[in-house]
């Protein structure tokens, strides 16, 4: 409504001036319409224009206080109305553009504040690649005063024109990462101390002539402590893998022999596992004995846990062209297709694992994957529900497969004996 005010005042002024202004009755209303239009949107502006046209027509165009005038006056009224309309429309557009522009300027100010307060070097080169905008911390990084004009910083020649460059200072991050690593290993180390006390003291108690119930109780305590220790080890391994600190010592290993050794170490596994290695050759791989045993142990214990009871587990070692492949197969309910892609993810536990009551940290396969990949191999699983599930992993071969020494009766240590030179490939 404020917009109608200048028009009203003009009407009063013109009425007061009376004959002085005659016959230029329209002129004073042009500037007042211009002023009014600043505060009005398009609709009220048009109404105001129409009202002022009617008011001037009625009050000031002679003969006053009558609608019927000289037809020549109609032309002046038409010019006033159309000019008013144009002023209103343009001013409306101008106001909207200004508002948008102010908003953009404000946004730019916020972004500039964000970028300027970034601890990183952020630089934007101009078209010729010679200079551009650089953040205050960026200017400090390249040894320029903080008040050096941001737009005139010379960018290194190697940098392409019209591009953005971000340089992050990572020393703080590295320091935090280092602290995290240290913390993880200290925690893992310190947790094993009390666990060791529990295991040893339980063993001592078991030699004290306990009753059957007491013996059972102590065994449970001991088994829980051992499980806790395995979980701490898993967390430690996961932490080592994640921070790329897992050390793999590569030796020349007979993979078939390694797999057999793992199976023979556990009487339960030995009774249920059929190990099949190539009859006529031995597969030597480049691997870390302890870590590869850990992978085989993990896959084998999963097969024993989740395979149907009393069924045999297949453990095959075969040549897969440049790689040795190990397959661990069990019969049983299997793994649903929707779970297969997530098996090797951290803390993933399948529905079967969660409902079976079998305890686990959800880290076993995640660690196995990390270890196999650290060897330059690959691990994956295939499953036909209600039939078989097979876990595969590969490790690079160390040279071509070696023929098995047929005549040897003693378990040899891996190196080929000279008398078999004749049947080498």
């Amino acid at each position: 409504m404020l917009g109608f005010f200048p028009l009203g005042i003009t009407a009063v002024v013109q009425w007061a001036l009376g004959p002085l202004i005659y016959p230029h009755v329209w002129f004073l209303f042009y500037p007042s319409l211009l002023i009014s239009s600043w505060t009005m949107d398009r609709r009220s502006g048009l109404i105001a224009t129409a009202l002022s046209t009617g008011l001037i027509w009625w009050l000031f165009v002679p003969p006053e206080h009558a609608f019927v005038k000289d037809p020549q006056e109609l032309f002046a009224a038409g010019v006033f109305f159309s000019t008013g309309t144009v002023i209103i429309v343009f001013n409306d557009r101008l106001r909207k553009t200004t508002e948008r522009l102010l908003k953009v300027i404000e946004e730019r100010r916020v972004f500039a504040a964000l970028i300027d307060n970034s601890p990183d070097f952020i630089g934007i080169t101009d078209r010729d690649g010679q200079s551009g905008y650089v953040t205050p911390s960026g200017r400090r990084m390249v040894g320029l005063a903080a008040d050096h004009p941001a737009e005139n910083t010379t960018i290194p020649d190697c940098y392409p024109a019209g591009a953005t460059m971000i340089v992050q200072v990572v020393s703080t991050l590295k320091e935090l990462e280092h602290l995290r690593e240290e913390w993880a290993s200290v925690v893992a180390h310190d947790l094993q101390q009390p666990i060791s006390v529990i295991v040893l003291r339980s063993d001592l108690l078991l030699h004290e002539g306990l009753t059957e119930t007491q013996t059972e109780d102590v065994r449970e305590v001991r088994s829980a402590a051992k499980r806790l220790s395995r979980m701490v080890n898993d967390l430690m391994d996961a932490s080592l893998l994640e921070t790329s600190r897992m050390r793999i010592t590569l030796d020349r290993l007979d993979l078939g022999q390694l797999v057999r050794a793992v199976v023979e170490r556990d009487p339960d596994a030995a009774a249920r596992t059929d190990v099949r290695t190539p009859i006529d050759s031995r597969l030597f791989v480049k691997g870390d004995e302890q870590r590869l045993e850990q992978v085989v142990t993990n896959l084998l214990s999963n097969a024993l846990k989740y395979g149907a009871p009393e069924t045999q587990i297949g453990l095959d070692v075969r040549d897969a062209g440049g790689y040795a492949e190990v397959l661990v197969t069990n019969r049983g309910p299997g793994i649903p297709g929707d779970e297969l892609p997530f098996l090797f993810e951290r803390y993933f536990r399948s529905r079967a694992a969660r409902t079976s009551g079998t305890k686990g940290s959800g880290l076993g396969l995640y660690i196995a994957k990390g270890l196999v990949e650290a060897h330059g191999g690959r691990i994956w699983a295939e499953s036909t529900p209600a039939e078989t599930t097979t876990f595969h992993f590969t490790v690079p071969l160390d040279g071509p497969p070696m023929p098995t020494p047929v005549l040897s009766s003693s378990p040899d240590e891996g190196a080929l004996q000279p008398e078999f030179e004749g049947i080498q490939p």
């Binding site: 893992a188 180390h189 094993q192 101390q193 666990i195 060791s196 006390v197 040893l200 402590a225 051992k226």
Partner: protein, 133 residues
């Protein structure tokens, strides 16, 4: 293990030190305790000789490994069991460097493991490191 078997046990975790010492005593050994690498050396000097040393690695003042390296340097070649909860792969190589009569026990270990490793080292009690002649 007879009562004449003298064993020196070192660990900075008192609870674990007492437990390992108690386990070895019940296995029939005569046990002396130390709470740091420095004390291990002191006890070796004042209470020695020992038939076996059982030591932790991470200890204040001097680690078990540093202490044992010093012990080997002065020419003492008694068997040693190194106990550790460290996941570090380099540990086994360091233990091997202490000689053939050195063994690594990863914590937590069972009474059986401690007993069999100790018995094995005590039965083949021959110093394998070079003693200064």
């Amino acid at each position: 293990m007879s009562g004449h078997t003298r064993i020196l046990v070192a660990d900075d975790d008192l609870q674990l030190l007492n437990t390992v010492a108690e386990a070895l005593r019940r296995l029939g050994a005569d046990v002396v305790q130390a709470e740091s690498g420095a004390e291990l050396i002191e006890q070796l000097a004042s209470e020695g000789p020992f038939d076996l040393v059982v030591t932790d690695i991470s200890m204040p003042w001097m680690s078990g490994m540093q202490a044992m390296r010093s012990v080997r340097t002065v020419g003492l070649g008694m068997p040693v069991i190194v106990m550790t909860a460290l996941g570090d792969e380099r540990v086994s190589a360091q233990v091997q460097a202490l000689g053939r009569n050195a063994a690594l026990l990863r914590k937590p270990f069972e009474l059986n493991e401690l007993e069999s490793v100790a018995a094995m080292l005590l039965s083949s009690k021959q110093p394998s490191v070079d003693r200064p002649s």
